[in-house]
Amino acid sequence: MTSLFEEIHEAPPADVPTRRVTITVNGQRRTVEIEPRLLLAHLLRHGLRLTGTHTGCDTSNCGACTVLFDGAPVKSCTMLAVQADGHEVTTVEGLAGPSELHPIQEGFRDEHGLQCGFCTPGMMMAAKALLDRNPNPTEEEVRWALSGNLCRCTGYQNIVKAVLAAAQKMRGDAPGEQEESS
């Protein structure tokens, strides 16, 4: 069990209530004792040291903190960690096994879908949620699915390309094959 008291108080007053929660993070059951007000993003970043989930705005606008919550994209900076009790959370660290890359990761890397890369984990998690439910999206559907994620570097052109390339790879299409709109 990981105690997260140190993240909140060095020596918490006795009257600070805590909750014990069990969350499946990247396939691994984690039981932690936390203050109810702890945000999911802070639990992931500081408590579990999964720093691939970034916080860029604190107000759910930028999407850098996007993770999958039971498969659906959520902004972990505005969700309480206790809300995840009994649920599954997937972060960028869980996209692929160690020493392998998910096709979405390959897409962002190979299509130059990133520059500073700060938005990239959130973008990829939002893209994962899209491709899980729609393996053959149109460009418009990609844009709509990523419209809650901000990127300041790329102008988004290569992000769209990266997601479409990943979709193609996940479908097993030959490169250059004509895309059909779903």
């Binding site: 060095e10 720093t51 970034h54 990761q105 990127c151 300041r152 790329t154 052109q157």
Partner: protein, 761 residues
């Protein structure tokens, strides 16, 4: 030395090493960034580290009559509370002029000015204790009108140094005497834009055993940070060691210090590591922004559309402290007529001090504001003369041999007329959109097409590359060639900040091309090597790229000397020496070759303080945009349908990285045209969040077809031309012109808000 001369391995010319310049190899940090393993400055962690926080002024202008830290200091877990009295050295810092207090001294001059800093065991304790610091203020009326700050002698002085940071005139010919057939006059305003990088300011300071400090920081320029920090800490520079932490975007906002001195002060005071991380609201208050501008232009032209004169008065609001305002003023003045031939010029640019948030570097740096205004003027002139916007620009376009407003002759290709013809000849997007989501208002379904008008507009921008006006601008690179496991390996060390632009990839590409070695390792950027200069002014491909190239050339010369030749070629892991080919690994043997080179661009001179004349710039870069917009004239909503660009880059070093820069720069120009503005009322920022400060989303940014031209600059490494900033200039006026074309409105302010369209003044 190797004792035996390496034996020839054949005479067939070896294959070129892949991944060199002109190709688009994978980023060396790409895998780390897609796996979440790349360590941004906010990810740095030491178990024993304290957390530092900053108490900021809630007032735009006030005298501090007392600071009581006792209650805060008494909170368990608080290790230090520091004020200006605790600054060990010079209590001021600044890039051009150290006038900004490390912590406020008796007076605060802008909202958000740091007053006290505090370190505690954890963020919560730190923030709770911070609220217990009692500061008493005698609130004063803020000076918020930049024009009054400059021109009204009765207004208060914001700072003992006065309210004008720099006044730069430009005088060419006799603009006040000549007359013209056609005259257009316009007053324009540009709002305060934020760089809005996604990774907020953060850093980790660790006390060193020698009494110094190690700082891990996301910045644009390690060495200038270090110089300022060392002076403020009263430490010799060698005791302040900086290492670049992962940078989540920069765009100018990391050129000034943020928490650098604060984190070091807390670390040295407590003897413990201290990490600091701003949240988004604090980030908005904690870095400089793009200067808001007021610009009055008068253009005179002949009946056939040739410019006779340009007169302009421009006021840039620098906010409370100097930052880089002097250099921003220089750019606005020297580039104030744009890339046009103008025989008579009278420009006055003023950089003002006010109690508004400090302004400094942002992508485009003084050239953005004037570009919006002079391009708006060119459109007004075209309309007056019955010429097309493209035609009037072609008739006045600079080319190689033309003189800038400074008298500087453009001595490398400047194919502006060709660029304009190219952008104008691109096919237009279909006149109707495919889905309702592509209409103004998007998925809000605010229209089915009724009230929607299409408009097309053009913009042209000219930007100086590298540092201007006599600045000693240089970059240092160390290149080491060794044999590891029988294979040649090159290690490159610079202090250049990778901020997302792809400089790490470019350094590897240059080494592969120059030394024919495929394995190129990059050492972390830090201050154990000489300065690389700033990752700004579109200068790092030119400067650090130039330094790496020069260091490679020095290494290659050493290889040649070892083989008894004056020159050799290094290709595909082989040495081509005269008629023989030997393995590079054999030539290097167990004696690595290392060279450190300092690269400088050609010298520049300051602008004449009275006439603005002088060869102040190193290199100039052009970009041209055509914007197509749909405007819902009833609701004032704008959808950019397409944003096409033509840019001359001299030489394409890495096409996908280059395209990413042009796309990203164009999108930031779109933001300035239509959505991005820090709202400042009575000196107070009203929208310090991404809820209220809007930057373009993936639905706001349209397709951006690019035409990239390669007219080499003979003065630059590989003939390249800096490319990151120019698109940020020209996209804003192109979009504004397109909205004007759609609506028939004058629209003399950016960002254009819906009410400017529905209720024009």
């Amino acid at each position: 030395m190797t004792t035996q001369a390496p034996s020839p391995v054949g005479s067939a010319t070896p294959a070129r090493t892949p991944g060199g310049i002109g190709e688009s190899p994978a980023r060396p940090d790409g895998t780390l960034k897609v796996t979440g393993q790349f360590a941004y400055s906010s990810d740095l962690w030491l178990d024993e580290a304290l957390f530092g926080v900053t108490l900021r002024s809630p007032h735009a202008r006030a005298c501090i009559t007392g600071i009581d830290i006792a209650k805060a200091l008494a909170v368990p877990g608080v290790h230090a509370v520091l004020t200006h009295e605790d600054v060990p050295g010079l209590p001021y810092y600044g890039l051009d002029h150290p006038d900004q207090p490390v912590l406020a001294i008796d007076e605060v001059r802008y909202q958000g000015e740091p007053v006290a800093i505090l370190a505690a065991t954890d963020p919560h304790t730190a923030r709770r204790a911070l609220s217990l610091i009692e500061v008493t203020y005698d609130v004063l009326p803020p000076v918020t009108d930049a024009r009054r700050a400059v021109f009204d002698p009765s207004i208060d002085r914001v700072h003992p140094d006065g309210n004008v940071v720099r006044h730069q005139p430009v005088r060419v010919g006799s603009a006040d005497e000549v007359t013209a057939d056609v005259v257009v006059v316009g007053e324009y305003e540009v709002g305060m834009q934020d760089q809005a990088f996604l990774g907020p300011e953060s850093g980790l300071a660790v006390p060193a055993e020698n009494g110094g400090v190690d700082l891990y920081i996301a910045t644009q320029w390690l060495h200038v940070d270090r110089g300022q920090i060392a002076r403020c800490l009263d430490l010799p520079e060698e005791k302040v060691r900086l290492t670049l932490a992962g940078v989540g975007g920069a765009f100018g906002a990391r050129e000034d210090l943020s928490m650098q001195v604060h984190a070091c002060m807390l670390a040295l005071h407590t003897g413990k590591p201290v990490r600091m991380s701003y949240d988004r609201a604090e980030s908005f208050l904690g870095h400089v922004h793009r200067h808001p501008a007021w610009l009055r232009y008068e253009h005179g032209a002949t009946r056939d559309g040739k410019l006779v004169y340009v007169k302009a008065t421009i006021v840039l609001d620098g906010g409370a402290y100097t930052s880089t305002t002097p250099a921003v003023v220089g750019n606005a003045a020297s580039l104030g007529v744009g890339p046009y031939e103008v025989p008579h010029i009278a420009i006055d640019v003023y950089g003002a001090r006010t109690n508004n948030p400090p302004c400094g570097a942002m992508r485009g740096f003084g050239a953005v504001q004037v570009c919006y205004a002079y391009e708006s003027q060119m459109d007004a002139l075209a309309a007056e003369l019955g010429l097309s916007p493209v035609e009037i620009r072609i008739r006045n376009a600079v080319s190689q041999g033309s003189k800038l407003a400074t008298g500087q002759v453009i001595d490398s290709p400047a194919p502006l007329a060709d660029m304009l013809r190219r952008v104008a000849s691109l096919p237009l997007p279909p006149s109707t959109v495919d889905s309702s989501g592509d209409l103004p208002g998007g998925y809000g379904n605010t229209t089915r097409g009724e009230g929607v008008r299409r408009g097309v507009g053009y913009g042209v921008g000219i930007k100086n590359i590298c540092f201007s006006e006599g600045f000693d601008d240089y970059a240092t690179a160390r290149v080491r060639l060794a044999v590891v496991g029988g294979e040649p390996v090159v290690t490159v060390h610079t202090a250049a900040a990778e901020v997302g632009q792809g400089l790490v990839t470019l350094q590897q590409q240059i080494v592969r091309t120059e030394l024919g070695v495929s394995t190129v390792l990059l050492q972390p950027a830090d201050t154990t090597i000489g300065s690389a200069g700033s990752s700004s002014a579109s200068r790092q491909s030119y400067m650090t790229g130039g330094a790496v190239k020069a260091a490679c050339e020095a290494v290659r010369t050493r290889v040649a000397q070892r083989l008894g030749h004056s020159t050799v070629e290094l290709v595909g892991g082989k040495v081509l020496a005269g008629d023989t080919i030997v393995d590079l690994a054999a030539a290097v043997g167990d004696e690595p070759i290392e060279e450190t080179v300092v690269f400088r661009h050609r010298p520049t001179v300051p602008m004449d303080p009275v006439t603005g004349q002088g060869d102040s710039h190193v290199q100039l870069a052009l970009c041209v945009h055509r914007a197509v917009v749909d405007v819902d004239v009833e609701l004032g909503l704008v959808k950019v349908v397409e944003l096409a660009a033509v840019q001359d880059v001299g030489r394409v070093m890495n096409r996908v990285a280059l395209e990413g820069q042009i796309h990203g720069g164009s999108a930031q120009g779109l933001g300035l045209a239509l959505m991005e503005e820090i709202q400042v009322v009575d000196g107070l920022v009203r929208n310090p969040s991404f809820t209220d400060y809007l930057i373009p989303t993936i639905l706001d940014v349209p397709p951006m077809p690019l035409t990239i031209l390669e007219h080499p600059d003979p003065h630059a490494p590989y003939g390249l031309r800096g490319a990151g900033e120019p698109p940020t200039l020209s996209s804003t006026p192109a979009i504004a012109a397109a909205v004007r074309a759609a609506t028939g409105l004058r629209l003399r302010r950016v960002p254009i808000r819906p009410e400017h369209i529905t209720h024009p003044t």
